[in-house]
Symmetry: C2
Subunit: 453 residues, 2 copies
Amino acid sequence: VSSQRIVVVGADATGMSAASRAKRRAPEIQVEAYDLGRYVSYGACGIPYAVSGEVGRVEDLVVISPDRFREERGIEVFTRHLVERIVPAEKKILVRDLAAGRVKERAYDKLVFSTGAEPITPKGIDPGLEEVFFIRNLEDAQRLKSFLAERKPGRAVIVGAGYIGLEMAESLAKAGLRVQVTVRGERVLSSAEEEISSALAGELKRQGVELVTGAVPKATERPARGGVRLELMDGRELTADLLLVGAGVRPRSELAEEAGLKLGVKGAVAVDRLQRTSDPDIFSGGDCAEAYHRLLGRNTYVPLALGANRQGRVIGDNLVGGKSEFPGILATTVTKVFDLTAARTGLSLREAREEGLEAVKVVTKAPSRASYYPGSSPITTCLIAEKGTGRPLGAQMVGLDGVAKRIDIWGTALSAGLSLEEIGDLDLAYAPPYSPVWDPVLVTAGVALKKIS
Amino acid sequence: VSSQRIVVVGADATGMSAASRAKRRAPEIQVEAYDLGRYVSYGACGIPYAVSGEVGRVEDLVVISPDRFREERGIEVFTRHLVERIVPAEKKILVRDLAAGRVKERAYDKLVFSTGAEPITPKGIDPGLEEVFFIRNLEDAQRLKSFLAERKPGRAVIVGAGYIGLEMAESLAKAGLRVQVTVRGERVLSSAEEEISSALAGELKRQGVELVTGAVPKATERPARGGVRLELMDGRELTADLLLVGAGVRPRSELAEEAGLKLGVKGAVAVDRLQRTSDPDIFSGGDCAEAYHRLLGRNTYVPLALGANRQGRVIGDNLVGGKSEFPGILATTVTKVFDLTAARTGLSLREAREEGLEAVKVVTKAPSRASYYPGSSPITTCLIAEKGTGRPLGAQMVGLDGVAKRIDIWGTALSAGLSLEEIGDLDLAYAPPYSPVWDPVLVTAGVALKKIS
């Protein structure tokens, strides 16, 4: 380990967590990280709030600056550096300093491949138009914020209603724009249970955001009088001052593929439980790599921030001789859409059935607080459980109040393998301002027990 | 079972849950419940909010009226009825109808003893004074609310700073009174860890509530010019327009003792895991009885609403031939004190050490949301864990934001017997408005792991 050089390709949360952990464990090693962007170590999930103005400046999302990485952690971070090739046979990389234009070669003993994901550009959308925006990094956020400040756009079209699409709908509406959200099918957040989607659609409507369903992009163009026009396959046309794409992401794995690394699920870098790629000296994790799913017992592709950070720590241990195993994800997520919170953990009904499980869904509605206490409002829970055994497989919740950390009760229970009966017997916190005596989690476990057995 | 008569003595949450469950399981049985009070089935924990005016009327706390018990559940509820004797040898009770003045005899096949708890009157306080109040039932709340409306008191002294004392301090302050809270020692909520107590004391001060420490009551009297004067052992005197006692509760178990039932911890009715008393035909649970503690593996006395309800269901099953076991409590509680929330689950450091466990306390401070997101504020967590094994034994939290349901992550983990390592690996929900990437629970597990191992 002693004089090893570790090279981090892509300074995302995984890469920087790995670097920090490795350097803490073995201060004598040398760590250098290269990233294409201007910023590293920032809360990308905070972009919607920086755009809306709820968080003051985009730069406030930066957690640790490159200087602090250097000074406090002894990690060299090179921003605006494009790694052009990885040559595993010679254990070196070719990296271009974008400012200076020079390419240099750097040798590595171990490499961390953590290039993250990139937004998908749907067919028919021209990503080069000035009025077309993606939400990928802080530069994107800055460009959007400048555009809002300078052009004072009145109308936005958002293509896609996943997490980013929905959060940006709120963000742009709060920034004063009239917002239309387009979806290909009928539902927003189509990966969620229908009950969750319809609650979110209701909230969008209440907040004055228009949902355009069955909308398949055909072309974008810039009309003569300015703005952007989105033509749909069925002939409809939407015009706006800006168009924001939130159509999902894909792993940025081309460089890994060129280096001969094995790709796995959805083109993500294949990894084992130690976060090793097919090359024993190259580790990977985060949004460019597969993630081990605790309930599925195999790798999947669910790019999420906490998983990326946790994988980084595992890599950090293993870079310096450890044998840490990544325990896996439950694909737990939570999102705020105006006044509503939607959260999930574990499998959806569709995912469970695709796994060949005989799964059922139980839907409950229970108050977030004592029903007489101000602010009490119903939480809808969709519980997915295995028929016969009654084993809980996943939970989804939506409501105005008390959803975000309640989903973690389900997540903890799923991780621990608790039965519905054990969940129904949990001694959960009760006080009128926070919960009814029978918490929605307990109610749901009880109802599910009856329905399933 | 068929023509059995079940008599419920004391129509508290346990009694009415037991009655409802038994009747649902075996509709042919006859169930009658007797209670001294005017109201049954109400959210006593909501009283502070009904007094402050946050909940409109005291009667809004009633969940199910006696009429609805009769009509919808087939359960006869007799309010204002005092059970004067239980005669197990003859399987009968003597009950006085307080309105009519008559005493009648009723035979039972099975009896549920669920008389609840009663407030402790500290030595030196005259409970008969018009200006002295206890918070026990809806009648107490009504008397206090009328007093506030009619007398317009300006100052209140609260004796005791447990849950009721603290919640009523907020309640009376919100009702416009100047409030002094007296404690015998130095700390409020002295059952909690010191970090929690001092945060709560700080909040009281910030909100203009005066804390009077080292205050041992000697006498109460009514000065000539009205109001009430509390004389303390050290000679200090506090005067106010009303005095409210929140000095804890004790099990109302005299009647059970007279009937020959065995008493246990702190004079509470002794029960087994099936909630049977020492008489095989008499069940007990709720605030008059012992409660099985999951981590201690034995009975204790912790009167809490959810436990009382859960025990009621167990009794309901077992009244009609079931063999349900009460899985136990973790003594999980949460309380709102002005803007702060304090919550706990499991054992305190003192409790753990009293059990002979070599326990340590780890204290962390971590933000409730992404640090850049508005409303993010630090949560202080005290984690109690066993030295050597690292087994978590209890957790306490205090903060302005995100405490109430986060404690349930710890409670679920404690119930499931998760290790600190497993807790640190939980896939918890992250989004900037609700949590930092590393939730305070994960942070605390990580810090504790390092400190303990």
